[in-house]
């Protein structure tokens, strides 16, 4: 199913996982704090990117769902009508 190129979440979760792993490895040496801060900020940027991607994807999904529900409703109504005609 096409998403009309509105969102692409591929690899995002792996990136998050990698950062979490790096972060946990850095914890024992707090003297790396400025470096960790840079990692964490980088991670926060990624998190924000993912959040925005989710928001866009969520909007797209909502629109698709709405249209799907409308379509189902129309078809079901018409089906009922022609069923009555047929009877």
């Amino acid at each position: 199913m096409s998403n009309n190129e509105k969102f692409d979440l591929s690899g995002v979760f792996q990136v998050q996982q990698n950062y979490l792993t790096d972060l946990s490895n850095s914890y024992p040496n707090v003297n790396n704090a400025p470096l960790i801060a840079r990692y964490v900020l980088d991670l926060q940027d990624k998190v924000n990117d993912v959040t925005q991607s989710y928001q866009k994807a969520d909007t797209s999904a909502d629109n698709v769902l709405t249209e799907q529900y409308d379509m189902i409703d129309i078809i079901k109504t018409e089906q009922e009508r022609i069923d009555q005609i047929q009877d």
Binding site: P34, A37, Y54, L65, K76
Partner: protein, 796 residues
């Protein structure tokens, strides 16, 4: 979908931006440094003779020194170079202990003695004009005499030199009659204790003669021609204190008693600093006079050093040099400079080398006379009371010594000799004498006719490793920080490169036949390889013996004695001029070091190691000859090295830790307060790590929600996939049925392409109507016909 606000983002982002700017700034500083300098360099100030200062004082008749019971030879005999190294190394440690001793026992103020000496009857006004040394007043003034009358030798303590009365604690005699025809002399002595920095002393005085000595000369070598301040030079040259230390100070004034009312006397201290590219002088006065600060001229030396890009490189922040080194400010008083330590004297390490007999001399074995001895490998003063007497004796006979009165013995032979390779004087015990202590009546009994006295001093840095900052601080000095011993043991390793010291011999016992296996036949390169392959080799000697290359390596991580006297009586003598000592450098390996980022930023990193070079240059030609030591701040871990230990960097480190790990209340607009609060609903009590974790979890939750929607979309899609064909099927069925009713003519006359249900009904009705109508017509016609036919039949 859950909202995902990262409350810590703004603060974290601001910190990271600042940190990047800081790093960029440090990189720029490194680039702008003089090519010969590094932001941080590491030097091992090796134990070698260059770090030892030997000043010849002169030849003292043995009675001068031997009357001091503690003046005796130290245990054992040794070569003079070995004595020098051992004493110098011991003295470095002694200085540390001495500083602690003085800090513990110091009392405020300088001790003083007031003396009144009779003068011939006459009229004495204005400033005395006399040759103090000729009259020996400088010495007489410095000691207490009990035979001058009850009003003589008045002692006291003062730390206020704003006036003569204040400096003498108001103990000066005020009886004008008793002061007539008296020479009044005052001697102040004690310690000048100052933090690291440049200082000068100004004496404002009238109608008196004054002298000020600062340093070793003030103890017992104070002469009128070596005073730092006098009537002709009222402001001293700069005294540079590389670190906080006690320096002896002696102040003397002389005036005629009958003009005492006209005598004025005041001391002022100046501290010279560098602030905002300007040389400043802070005047530190006594009493309630506030300190003042004003700019002075800019010396060419520093102007050149500061010109161009490097002009911004001067560190003015106190935390970048010695934290305790700034006495600036209203609270610092000149009186704080002065202190005394009762019952203790500063150790001026006077020593003399004596050969006991000819055989010892040939074997390079000398006695070393001094006031110290080694106890448990630590240098200690034998007796402080005796030390005071020795100083008094030295000063008492300085004039005679300077006149070379003891250079020839009673047989008119030169009383001393000089060891050619090292140019050190020695004396010999006179033939036939015994070792019994000499007395004033038998001045040459048992000891040499005279002692060739030396003052030995060692550089405080000797034997230690320092990190040197390549940027001058406010004291015009390069800050140095000692690397702690544990750090050295745990983190430093030997490098494969060496500093060469030509001319130094291995010890005789290393090349003697009984230790023959210590010397092996290898050339210099092979010897270096030999040492490189040993983990306990701190140095090696390479030389030739009878033309054969020889090699001796250290096997015990030891320190060489830096012997410059050729070993004698060896089976394999060292060929003259072939010998060299190679001292192994250290290095700090960065492989796998977690602090690599801040270490490589400004440190002189080469091949992933920071080199630590052996330095034997203790002179002014050394690149970092002006230095400041902060003895309270040793580098004990890699976290304190280089930029990692920079106070500014540490501040950023702490800030990063706070942001990352300390919970704080953050608000939606990015502000924060460092306490817990849940009163405001749009705030979050968190830290960057937890906040980020929350953000990730929220995203993961959103992933679940999003997946659910995707499943619904799929489900709807499947449902539509079912509904639509079903609908199409039904519709097709209807369509087929509709085709059965389709009338082509109607269809042809219709504007519509296909039949419509309503039209079809109309058409059906119309067809029905037409059929019915036709049927009715036909019926009517039939009835009429039948009626007519019946009537016809009936008439017939």
């Amino acid at each position: 979908m859950e909202p995902n606000k990262l409350f810590t983002y703004d603060r974290l982002s601001e910190f990271v931006n600042n940190y990047k700017e800081f790093v960029a700034k440090k990189k720029k500083e490194e680039e702008e440094l003089d090519p010969n300098l590094n932001a941080y360099s590491y030097y091992h100030f090796s134990n070698n003779p260059n770090g030892i200062i030997m000043d010849s004082i002169g030849r003292f008749g043995q009675n001068i020194l031997s009357s001091v019971s503690a003046w005796s030879p130290m245990k054992n005999k040794n070569g003079i170079d070995a004595w020098r190294i051992n004493l110098a190394r011991g003295l470095v440690k002694f200085r540390e202990n001495e500083f602690t001793l003085f800090q513990t026992n110091k009392k405020p103020g300088l001790d003083f003695i007031i003396n009144y000496d009779e003068l011939p009857i006459g009229v004495y006004y204005n400033t005395p004009n006399m040759n103090i040394d000729q009259e020996d007043y400088a010495y007489r003034t410095s000691i207490s005499y009990t035979d001058r009358g009850s009003d003589n030798s008045i002692t006291g303590t003062s730390n206020d030199f704003s006036s003569l009365q204040a400096a003498t604690a108001n103990k000066l005699g005020l009886n004008k009659t008793s002061l007539l025809y008296k020479m009044v002399t005052v001697d102040w002595h004690g310690f000048f204790l100052a933090p690291a920095g440049n200082y000068s002393i100004t004496c404002n005085a009238e109608n008196c003669l004054f002298y000020i000595w600062v340093g070793d000369n003030a103890v017992c070598q104070f002469m009128n021609d070596n005073a730092d301040v006098n009537n002709n030079t009222t402001t001293s040259e700069k005294f540079f204190f590389p670190y906080e230390q006690f320096r002896y100070i002696r102040i003397q004034i002389y005036y005629f008693g009958n003009v005492q009312e006209d005598v004025s006397f005041e001391l002022v201290f100046n501290r010279i600093t560098l602030k905002n590219k300007t040389e400043m002088v802070e005047t530190i006065s006594f009493g309630n006079v506030p300190n003042t600060e004003s700019p002075t001229f800019m010396s060419n030396q520093y102007y050149n050093m500061m010109s161009g890009e490097n002009a911004d490189m001067i560190i003015n922040t106190p935390d970048s040099s010695s934290p305790s080194s700034s006495p600036s400010g209203q609270s610092f008083q000149a009186s704080q400079f002065f202190c005394n330590v009762p019952n203790y004297y500063p150790l001026i390490l006077y020593c003399a080398f004596v050969s006991q007999n000819e055989q010892d001399f040939l074997n390079n074995q000398f006695l070393c006379y001094s006031m110290v001895e080694f106890q448990n490998n630590e240098l200690v003063v034998k007796d402080y009371t005796q030390l005071g007497i020795l100083y008094q004796n030295i000063r008492m006979f300085m004039t005679q010594v300077l006149n070379n009165d003891y250079d020839y013995n009673t047989s008119n032979r030169l009383s001393y000799g000089v060891l050619p390779p090292i140019n050190i004087q020695y004396t010999i015990i006179e033939p036939g004498s015994s070792n019994s202590p000499a007395t004033t009546s038998t001045p040459t009994n048992g000891t040499p006719f005279a002692f060739a006295l030396y003052k030995l001093n060692s550089d405080y840095r000797m034997g230690k490793i320092y990190q040197i900052d390549g940027v001058l601080n406010e004291n015009f000095a390069y800050p140095m920080h000692e690397i702690g011993k544990d750090f050295i043991t745990n983190n430093l390793s030997y490098a494969d490169n060496y500093e060469v010291f030509p001319g130094f011999y291995p010890n005789a016992n290393a090349i003697d036949v009984q230790y023959y296996n210590k010397a092996v036949n290898k050339n210099e390169l092979e010897c270096k390889e030999f040492c490189n392959n040993s983990t306990n080799c701190a140095y090696y000697f390479a030389y030739s013996s009878n033309g054969t290359d020889k090699c001796i390596i250290d096997t015990d991580n030891s320190v060489p004695v830096f012997n410059r006297v050729p070993p004698s009586n060896t089976n394999e003598p060292v060929d003259k001029g072939s010998q060299s000592l190679y001292l192994r450098n250290y290095q700090f390996d960065l492989s796998g070091n977690p602090n690599k980022e801040c270490l490589i930023l400004n440190d002189n990193v080469q091949n992933n190691v920071i080199p630590i070079v052996n330095n034997s240059n203790y002179s002014d030609t050394f690149t970092y000859s002006n230095y400041n030591l902060d003895k309270n701040m040793k580098i004990t871990s890699p976290n304190e090295m280089g930029l990692c230990g920079n106070p500014e960097y540490k501040k950023k480190l702490n800030e990063a830790e706070q942001i990352l790990f300390k919970d704080t209340t953050y608000y939606k607009n990015g502000t924060f307060v460092e306490n817990f609060s849940n009163a405001i609903p749009d705030s979050k009590y968190t830290d960057a790590i937890d906040d980020t974790s929350d953000g990730i979890r929220t995203n993961l939750n959103n992933e679940v929600l999003y997946a659910e929607k995707q499943e619904k979309i799929n489900k709807n899609y499947q449902e539509l996939n079912n509904l639509i064909p079903e609908y199409e099927e039904t519709r097709n069925e209807i369509k087929i049925k509709e085709q059965l009713y389709e009338a082509s003519q109607i269809k042809a006359s219709s504007d519509q392409k296909g039949p419509r249900i309503l039209k079809k009904k109309i058409m059906d009705n119309n067809e029905l109507y037409l059929s019915s109508k036709l049927l009715f017509t036909l019926g009517t016609v039939s009835v009429t016909t039948l009626l007519i036919f019946a009537i016809v039949l009936a008439r017939d």
